[in-house]
């Protein structure tokens, strides 16, 4: 089909909505975590203030070109991931630039940001950053493995690689969701999801008590603000993929917000009540539990 | 355990000084420096004083001596004995004493502190010459009696004007007890 230029402003609109929702959702999840600690927690608009403050810092230093490009890569990873999956199913405005075979592209984008971050933080030359990168790459790889397996199993199940078609196949009653038609794959993917969200028990990459605070150690003012923006977009984009693949997508913004919030909450709840694994322990955990489930799901399909 | 009995048993073996029974479960004994190591080993292995509580020094400036106190504790008998070793105190430069870090590894820490704070050297003790607490110290060891901390502080740090410091004795005498005889300072 011919490329429709109108899609570009529309997808930018999607981006705008998602960014704001990401900021608010992040603060809200933090408030929920604070509730567990009998606190009130930060105000919901705190993230905006931090962003403005960080962009408003007057001085900033550099460690080289890759140090600049690191947050940029990360941000483009998040944005790209978001732009190439349909946010709202069936809506012309918010189906973004998705085309056939975009599932592989999405998988690539999930990893893209981490790699860019690794390169950038490596340039900063801080030992804590270096240790954090080695931990992060190994753990993210282990966490992506079950997700990839689950994605393949879903792709086999629906005989397509287009997210749009997969979502379309899940419409109708919620019994058509992959959650019920292929529970094994969903279990594997959700367990892997924990690992990729950088929350306990899999946040040893950023563990403040051990390597403060991992890869972003040297990042400050504007760089940090870029990464915060990405921290708002990237989880949402990832959740959008999960939602489309496993939870029947969303056909209007209301259900979109609701589903994203619930999926996000899943990782937050686990995060509040668990300490963190050591990196080799977490990798072992991923290889023992989710990966076999993922393989099993492929076999079942 | 009765500490005077222990003292008599030890006196048969080593030339000990007088015994000061501070409490029924705490006594101090003076002994010459060369007999310190055998006494410590005897106390640790035969008498069950296995716990080195502390090792510290007292600066008797007037007598020109350092007093090293090795305080040992016997947990099963619930009593402590402190060994006082008097070593002579050079007016400037390091005093010397032999190290006991091979008997109690943790003594190395105490000896590092004594080396820095009193200027007592323990040759052979691990990391003895590294800086322990102070950094870039350029005066006589601060715990010696002839080091005046107030003078040093006023000389090296600029004070904030407006702070009054009075001698409490005279101040409280004027304020509270105008009728008492003046409090003496040494």
């Amino acid at each position: 089909m011919a490329f429709d230029w109108m899609k570009i402003p529309y997808s930018l609109l999607t981006l705008f909505i998602v960014v704001n929702y990401g900021f608010l959702l992040g603060a809200f999840i933090q408030k929920i975590g604070a509730r567990a600690g009998r606190r009130h927690g930060i105000p919901v608009w705190q993230n905006y203030l931090d962003i403005i403050k960080n962009y408003g810092q007057r001085s900033s230093i550099t460690h080289g070109v890759m140090f600049y490009l690191g947050p940029v890569f990360r941000l483009s990873g998040g944005v790209g991931l978001l732009l190439f999956v349909p946010t709202i199913y069936g809506s012309y405005m918010f189906s973004n630039l998705s085309f056939a075979g975009d599932l592989i592209l999405a998988l690539y984008f999930v990893f893209f940001g981490t790699l860019g971050m690794a390169l950038g933080a490596g340039e900063s030359g801080h030992p804590h950053a270096a240790i954090g990168i080695t931990r992060g790459l190994s753990q993210v790889t282990a966490a992506e493995l079950p997700f990839a397996l689950a994605v393949f199993s879903v792709a086999l199940q629906y005989q397509t690689l287009s997210v749009t078609d997969i979502v379309g196949a899940q419409q109708g009653s919620f019994l058509n969701w992959t959650l019920f038609t292929n529970p094994l794959a969903v279990t594997a993917a959700m367990l892997g999801f924990l690992g990729s969200m950088m929350r306990p028990p899999f946040d040893v990459v950023l563990a403040p008590q051990e390597i403060p605070i991992g890869p972003p150690t040297e990042y400050h003012s504007s760089y940090l603000a870029l990464m915060q923006t990405n921290r708002a977009i990237f989880p949402i984009a990832k959740i959008v993929i999960y939602m489309n693949l496993f939870f029947g997508g969303a056909d209007n913004w209301a259900s979109f917000f609701l589903k994203v919030f619930l999926i996000y909450l899943w990782s937050a709840f686990v995060g509040v009540c668990f300490p963190r694994f050591r990196v080799e322990q977490s990798i072992r955990w991923f290889l023992i539990w989710p990966v076999p489930i993922g393989l099993l799901s492929i076999l079942v399909v | 355990m009765n500490l005077s009995d222990l003292y008599n048993r030890l006196k048969a073996l080593f030339p000990l000084g007088e015994l000061t029974e501070q409490r029924p479960d705490l006594a101090f004994v003076t002994l010459p420096a060369e007999f310190l190591r055998p006494t410590l080993l005897h106390l640790r292995d035969r008498e069950g004083f296995t716990h080195l509580v502390l090792l510290t020094a007292v600066d008797w400036l007037e007598e020109g001596r350092f007093q090293l106190t090795y305080l040992l504790s016997n947990r099963t008998q619930a009593c402590d004995i402190g060994l006082r070793v008097m070593i002579d105190r050079p007016a400037s430069g390091l005093a010397t004493m032999d190290s006991i870090h091979d008997i109690w590894p943790t003594a190395a820490t105490y000896q590092r502190e004594l080396r820095e704070m009193f200027g007592i050297d323990f040759p052979g003790s691990p990391r003895i010459d590294e800086e322990f607490i102070l950094e870039g110290w350029n005066d006589i060891p601060p715990y010696r009696r002839d080091f005046d901390t107030l003078k040093y502080a006023e000389a090296s740090y600029n004070q904030r004007p407006g702070r009054e410091t009075r001698d409490p004795a005279t101040h409280m005498k004027q304020q509270l007890y105008p009728d008492t005889e003046p409090g003496g300072k040494p």
Binding site: A34, G37, R38, R39, H40, G41, I42, P43, Q46, L49, D50, I52, K53, G56, Q57, R58, S59, S60, I61, P208, P212, I213, P216, T217, E218, Y219, H220, S221, L224 | I133, L134, E135, G136, W137, N138, D139, P142, F147, T149, L150, Y152, A153, S156, Y157, N158, Q159, R160, G162, R163, T165
Partner: protein
Amino acid sequence: MSMKPELMKRMVKGPDGVEFEVEPLRDYYCEAPPTVMPAAYSKIVEDLFNWARAESLWILGFGTGCGAIEMRPLMTPRFDAYRYGIQWRPTPRQANLLVISGYLSVKTLKRAIRAYEQMQSPKYVVGLGSCTINGGMYWDSYNTIKRLDDYLPVDLYITGCMPRPEALLAGFTDLKKLIKAGKGEGANQYAENFAWYKANQKQVIHDWDMPDYNW
């Protein structure tokens, strides 16, 4: 001045067998003195920035003295400082408020200076407790500095030994007022009187084995 061996200029043979020269003081730090950072051109933008800076204070998690013990109650349920946009940052790069929590021994002063210089401007310093003002309890101690503002540009002092969390919250509220009024220019003040501050610092830090300014 005693130079630590790992700071000396030397030839290093890497794992790949290539010989190269490292001079840590030159390689790892930049020695350019700080410059005065101008405010944003338009006043509205600067006011917006100041408002955001005031409302998101990121404290550097560096407990330099006794006062640090009241920091945990400050961050926990009873006095929940997160409500006011106050958070901990573990690394000086991302913090913009350095809380000197209590007396500073000379050894800690050295680390505090380096932590302060690694923070990004605008940055603020809050002195906690009487001992940062005039020595307090330790007025005659040979190892603690007596007035903090000779060595770092202090924006605010919080008195007490030690200050209660309520006092800390009140102090931070006042600091926010200062910043919103555009008075929180400690970094520029440090840059303007750089020579004076350095002279004071080197007067008490006898083994100065670091660059004059590390970022």
